[in-house]
Every structure is written in structure tokens, then in C-alpha cells.
Assembly symmetry: C2
Homo-oligomer: 197 residues x 2
DNA sequence: GAAAAAAAATGAACTAGTTTAAGACTTTTA
DNA sequence: TAAAAGTCTTAAACTAGTTCATTTTTTTTC
């Protein structure tokens, strides 16, 4: 069976952890919704009740909150082959505190809460898929939460550059500052210092 | 069926997400190992290959790494009814970078990697249990990694105090500083300032 | 392709958090 | 129960990161 590019991408992502039969693949794909988000448009805004989780097949989005002073704090950049959404809101159906905005024209596959629950009934193997997916995300967030607390901004920048070389050239320095957790001015200083080294 | 206290505690923890039959409960308990760690002793040290994940039934432990300068960074305090371990090492069988040390005499239930895998075969419902457990941990680590980057030390202290009132009185100020990500001296200033307010 | 808007760079004055050092208080151990 | 070891406090001098203001460079829009 030949699938379109976006479907091949998501099936390969899933095949890292579980094997699906052709029938299961087709069933799974039938539960997904295709979504397009134009540059600068929102996939989600604070206050929304987010009933979808997303897989990015093309483009780049930033996931962020605004603090009391209206300053943005970016928690992730999501590009092709990444999963994103607000899991807390997805789980509890409470309004989200996050904004997700496309920094490039983006294409996604979304799964609704209803279909996500259905998925586990129809193809129980997906419990394993999500168990492993969450387990791995957890490992990287535990590390990031320690680094946020124990590394200097310069060290966090160097880490990010090493870990996500495919992202760093697609985002603005200002957004990178909002991810690293510093002002754009200080980000500018760090970058020119690191490049001079 | 009547279970001993530690078994009741772990079964109740699991019952939050999945229902087990009596037979499944007994099967599950048979896969666990009882472990005792005396105050100041280690459950795990950097370099170990950690083939167990743990549930704490009594006591308190601190999970930390040492940086290049030998400064400890605590990533969690684990008390009764918490799960702990080094998931990265448990998953990959690579040596851990963590130390886990009891700050009180502690009692744990451990599950070996082999039994963890066996568990999914024998009682597939456990995929769901771990899927939800990891999903919820993920939500709280995502929040913590953002807070580590965007809040001041004083704000992080106030958050910790609110979120873990049952822990704050059981740990030293020095360990709290290593968790918040500041020096013990600055921790001392913050506490006396916050108490004065 | 010119005008407008946004991003990046630079610098000076400021604040949050560190370092070092010393003394007081508490807990552990012999 | 005394001594030793570890924890907590305070303070002065320092460094990482912020704020605010201005200029230059790049990107977007019509």
C-alpha cells in the first residue's frame, strides 16, 4: 500500500515503537484530521478547550504562555515529525493556558479526544505506543527542567544548538530568547560571544 | 482479601487509573521486591545500571546529580506514594547519572526491568496504567521546566511550598536550595524574607 | 521596490543571585 | 554528654542577567 507523504511520516513515527497491520494503519489514519495553519496564525489560544493532539507533518510552530506582564515564555518549537498540543487541557478538558502559533506555513494531523479514546479500544497496541512516547518525553523534560535550574543561559544556548541544529536556523533570535528564558538583548550578547569563541 | 499496608498503598495508587481483579492484584504483587534503605544510604549511585523502578511506601529520598564542580542538583524528593528511579537508565540500560539517597529510613517496592516487561504481557492493562502515569508526570515536568526558566527563585520557593507542604518540613534548607537551584545562603535570605511578609 | 514594521546590536545603569568568610545554632556520634 | 560535624545566618564584594534607550539591519507589506 502506498501512502501520501504526511501519512508515511506519521506511520514511520509510530513504527518506532509498535508494529501495525495494513488494516490497523488504515483504521488509524481514518481517525485523523488534516489541519493547515498559515504563518502567524494560531492553532490554539489561551482559554480554548483543546480537544486535539497534533503531529506536525510540515512547518514550524511555537508553543508558549504569557506571564502576568505579558512576556512570552516558549516551552517548545514543534517541527516535522514532532507531536504537540496541551496535554493538560486535552486530558482534563479545562481551558488551556497555552498559545500555539505557526512561525511557518504548517501542516498537521490532529486526533480528537474522542478518537484518541476510541483508538485504545480498537487498537490496544496504542496504549504501548503512547506509554513509550510519554516515557521518552518525560526523560527529556526531566533533563530540561534540571538544566533550566542549574545551567547558565549561555550553557542552555549551547545545549539547544547541539540538540536541535535543525531548528535553530528556522527561528528568530527573539523567540530563542523566550525559549532559553532571557531577554532578547542578552540573547544577542550571548550569540555574538559564542560565535567569537 | 486483606493486604499489608505497603501493598494496600501501591494497589490504591494503581486503582486511580485501572481496575484489577483479585488474581491480577496477587500476580502484580508477586512481581515486586521489598527494599529498605537506611537514612544516608544510597538506593542508586551514578555509574550504576539501574534495573529497577521504585514505589516509596515509607520515608523520604532525594534524587540528584552532581555537576562538574561537584555541586548537587536535586531533581525530586520522593516520599510515600511517589514513584521514582532513573527512567532513562531503566529504559536503555546505560549507566545512570543520578544518585538516590534516603534522607529518612525508607521502605520501597521495586519492580525489575524483566518483571516490568513481563507485566505488560501478563496484564496488558498496565500499559494503560503507565501511559496515564507518564502522561500526568509529563504535564507536571513541562510546567516545572518552564518555571525553572521563567520564575525567580523566590517564586519557585513559594510554588514548592504550596505544592508540597507535606515535604517542605521533612527536608533541610540546604537540600531545598539544591532543588530550587540556588545557594544555601540565598535560600536562607529568601526564607527569612518570605516569612517576614 | 519604497515605506513601514519588526528584529538585532550596543551600551549604561540597575537587580537577582553568587562567592567567600565568619560566627551561632543543631544534630550526630563516640 | 562532650566534641565534632553539619546546618543556618549575616554581610560585603562580585557576576550573570535585566531594563531602558538609541541606532542599524532585515523582513514584510502594499
Amino acid at each position: 500500500m502506498i501512502y501520501k507523504e504526511s501519512h508515511t511520516l506519521i506511520l514511520n513515527n509510530i513504527a518506532r515503537f509498535i508494529d501495525l497491520t495494513e488494516l490497523e494503519k488504515q483504521k488509524y489514519l481514518s481517525l485523523l484530521t488534516e489541519i493547515e495553519v498559515k504563518k502567524k496564525e494560531f492553532l490554539m489560544q489561551a482559554g480554548d478547550i483543546t480537544t486535539y493532539e497534533y503531529f506536525i507533518t510540515k512547518g514550524c510552530l511555537k508553543v508558549y504562555t504569557l506571564d502576568e506582564d505579558g512576556v512570552p515564555h516558549i516551552s517548545m518549537f514543534a517541527i516535522e515529525d514532532f507531536w504537540t498540543g496541551d496535554m493538560a487541557s486535552f486530558m482534563t478538558k479545562e481551558p488551556t493556558r497555552y498559545f500555539i502559533k505557526a512561525t511557518e506555513h504548517s501542516e498537521l494531523l490532529g486526533i480528537s479526544k474522542a478518537n484518541y479514546e476510541l483508538l485504545f479500544q480498537e487498537i490496544p497496541k496504542f496504549e504501548k505506543f503512547y506509554r513509550i512516547l510519554y516515557q521518552r518525553s518525560l526523560v527529556s523534560y526531566i533533563r530540561r527542567s534540571n538544566h533550566g535550574i542549574s545551567l547558565t543561559a549561555e550553557e542552555r544556548y549551547i545545549e539547544f544548538k547541539k540538540k536541535y541544529p535543525q531548528i535553530i536556523n528556522r527561528i528568530t533570535q527573539k523567540d530563542l530568547a523566550a525559549y532559553i528564558g532571557i531577554t532578547p538583548e542578552f540573547m544577542s550578547k550571548i550569540i555574538s560571544k559564542v560565535n567569537r569563541m
